[in-house]
Symmetry: C2
Subunit: 253 residues, 2 copies
């Protein structure tokens, strides 16, 4: 049995509490939440504390707070010489306070509270200062997912930037598509199959092979017409820049 | 039985030939391909002609050539007073030559030759000059897909621009994510679940609700670190512009 303490009550904490609670080989001993109500119904209220100093040692202590609070929280922890990990894609291992043994447990997925996630398929990126802790993290991670990767801090930073492009920025392009449809009384659902197919395609083809559309065809008549059609400044600039980037990328291959 | 003639041999023509051939109520009478070899194995060679003047009337004549060739091809057709439709998202109905009855049959999907598509779920956007032709197109379209929409030329233009954002541009963001991973010896597959989940999410949440990441959180420490991390100029500019656009969009809500 691996004991786990969780510090935080945001989206990642929510999903972790749910999935860890389901595992027979893991036990959540305590959770810290500044506002206990945020964890209502998720876990035995006796296990929740709003006083960080009351969090006691556990085999794995997981800090899942906003990136900007990780350093301060790791300093505030009352005990020492335990394995303490953060879950932040863009923070180095060594931002954690040195009184405890440092590690990272980065689930590479987008978590929203209102959307269930099949955690068994979430890639878990782990890192630790010493081999023994890395092994422990590996056993812990494999209890939750079949997809576990050893990723160092520099790689994790690159991975996090990539994730911003393929997820956060992609979602913003969906937002723009939705806005254009709404302006013209077109149901956004009409674009759902295209969105799903575009995502599915790169499971079988490389993204470069999968590229279609007027930019890659250098169809200047169409791209110029589209640019003229877009009146909102950000939309117009994004159209121009991404068209240019698609065409530049091919030149470099 | 609806008879169909197809003019063209590109990606859309390939997928149309395959799916129309499967329908008992539709019959492909002829296909025009400048290079007959491009349709090898797809259809009875006797039905293929490389002489456009040899294409004979059919209930529905579908022009699926590059956008820039649609006008010229519609002029070259030897017969008149038939229903002739194009498949181009960004061309008006009235670009077609007036000697035939005009229509549009726009399948809103990304087609690559090496990737099968479940055509029964492809949204088909139809338009015609007269009600009778629209009804015929509707019957024809429903033979191929359960998802048929009447979309006029102005809406179709908006839809095509939206499609460029949610598909062509999204795929380019996958390309950038892939390139960053390759530079840092990270397998791109690690991002596949995130990409799928990001696409799945907007089936349940609006894209605005689904937005996550450092831009929407106004986490300037992270966004500035990411900008500094990106050395390739297009990547850096795309990062800045999309971060700005995500933040501007929220202000307008």
């Amino acid at each position: 049995m691996i004991s786990v303490a969780i510090i935080g009550s945001g989206n990642v904490a929510h999903h972790l509490i749910k999935v860890i609670s389901k595992s027979k080989n893991l036990e959540i001993t305590q959770v810290f939440a500044r506002n206990k109500d945020r964890l209502k119904g998720l876990i035995d209220p006796q296990k929740i504390t709003s006083n960080l100093a009351q969090i006691k040692p556990a085999d794995v202590v997981i800090i899942c707070v906003t990136d900007g609070s990780v350093v301060a929280v790791s300093k505030e922890i009352a005990f020492n010489n335990q394995l303490v990990v953060h879950t932040a894609g863009s923070l180095n291992l060594d931002v954690l306070d040195s009184k405890n043994r440092k590690g990272v447990f980065y689930p590479l997925q987008t978590f929203s509270k209102d959307k269930e996630v099949d955690f068994s398929k979430v890639p878990l990126c782990i890192e630790a200062e010493n081999e023994k802790d890395l092994q422990l993290l590996e056993v812990f991670a494999h209890e939750l997912s079949s997809s576990v990767y050893k990723i160092d801090s520099q790689q994790r930073k690159a991975l996090h930037v990539s994730a911003v492009f393929v997820s956060n920025f992609v979602n913003h392009l969906y937002t723009i598509g939705n806005a254009i449809c709404q302006e013209h009384q077109i149901p956004f659902e009409i674009l759902h199959p295209l969105i799903q197919e575009t995502a599915q395609k790169i499971m079988h083809l490389s993204p470069v092979q999968a590229q279609t559309g007027p930019a890659i065809r250098h169809d200047d008549t169409i791209t110029q017409m589209h640019e003229a059609f877009l009146l909102e400044e950000n939309q117009k600039n994004i159209y121009k820049l991404l068209t240019q980037s698609i065409q530049d990328h091919v030149k470099k291959l």
